[in-house]
Subunit: 196 residues, 2 copies
DNA sequence: CCTACCGATCGGTAGG
DNA sequence: CCTACCGATCGGTAGG
């Protein structure tokens, strides 16, 4: 039975229980830490206790593996953010909730759900197209949140949204767990971006 | 005569006039566009009209080439930002001037002076150490500017500075020349970060 | 600056 | 899941 068949029946195709699920989790961790080009199939195999070539029983190609992980990561982040936003009424509170949820996902050192959003440049062209498309859909979530903010008329909402998203994505470049929590940082960002 | 000898005499060691200067400029452009790992010595050679191996008459290694370009880029950016800041008196005006100068350097598509600040993860360990050390020194400039701002006491200046720097660095990830100028974006960022 | 090459590593495959 | 391998590409070098 193919994976697609199993998915159609709603079975557990690659939770942590399956061998494939274990391999996906291991690969996500390595990609997140070392990037696309910095992670070889042999690296993933070694972490999984097999040779690199053996992985091709579970995946079609390195590219397909990376895209699958990226899509799953954004699915997870999207769900968490949508839930956090839905729990708030005030538009500014929604903004802070969205920032907090995104940063919690992105800054969790054990997170397998957020490989590298920002490696677009080190990926093959065909992969980049798939990543950008999925990311653009993800960003619709923030488009809606920003649209609901009572911003002064003179503020360019497109620029505002781009700055906010790149601000959130770039935190992972310098954040180190310890002094500040993801929520602390989200609160500060939401404070900076509060302009009324 | 070695390069070091020439430098000691203050000669033009690698301006655009020298062959070495041409090669550095070409390499900087490629690194900026495709990243460290995405740019091979053969790529650089091809763009310079020679074979990859021939480049080793002018440089010691790919690593040393990359570090040299990175240091030169930060030297140039530092000088421009310091000059822009010195032309202002008001601390908030200094902040905006610094943002504008940095973004002009970083968003100029023909800029050879700003390879990739953000590829730290795709670089060998020894290179990363050199890059981080130089970058930390670069960031002292912003430490001084932020220290001079009359921020409310409750604002964490360390977090504020980290957010500002990563905000500025991440603009290059989405900026496309056209609608907005680097100064437009700098003005918006300075506006967001104005909290008194 | 080129020819000709080195050892290492890469993604991926055939056959068992 | 392993053995054994493919062709491609990498940074770098010797010798001219």
């Amino acid at each position: 039975m193919s994976r697609t068949d199993a998915q159609a029946k709603g079975e557990d195709t690659d939770g942590a229980g399956t061998r494939r699920g274990q391999i996906l989790a291991i690969a996500a961790q390595l990609f997140a830490r070392k990037g696309y080009r910095g992670t070889s199939m042999r690296d993933i195999g070694e972490a999984a206790g097999v040779l690199g070539g053996s992985l091709y029983h579970h995946i079609k190609s390195k590219d397909a593996l990376f895209v699958e992980l990226h899509h799953a990561a954004l699915d997870g982040a999207e769900a968490r953010i949508a839930a956090a936003v839905a729990a708030q009424d005030d538009p500014w509170a929604q903004l802070e909730a969205a920032c907090g949820a995104l940063l919690e996902v992105q800054l969790d050192p054990d997170s397998l759900t957020m490989p590298m959003m920002n490696d677009f440049r080190e990926v093959p062209d065909a992969v980049r197209v798939a990543l950008v498309e999925r990311r653009d859909r993800f960003e619709q979530l923030f488009r809606a949140i920003v649209a609901a903010l009572p911003l002064p008329a003179k503020i360019d909402r497109s620029l505002y949204r781009n700055l906010l998203l790149s601000q959130l994505n770039s935190v992972a470049d310098w954040y180190r767990p310890g002094r500040l929590t993801p929520r602390d940082i989200a609160a500060q960002i939401a404070h900076l971006y509060r302009h009324d």
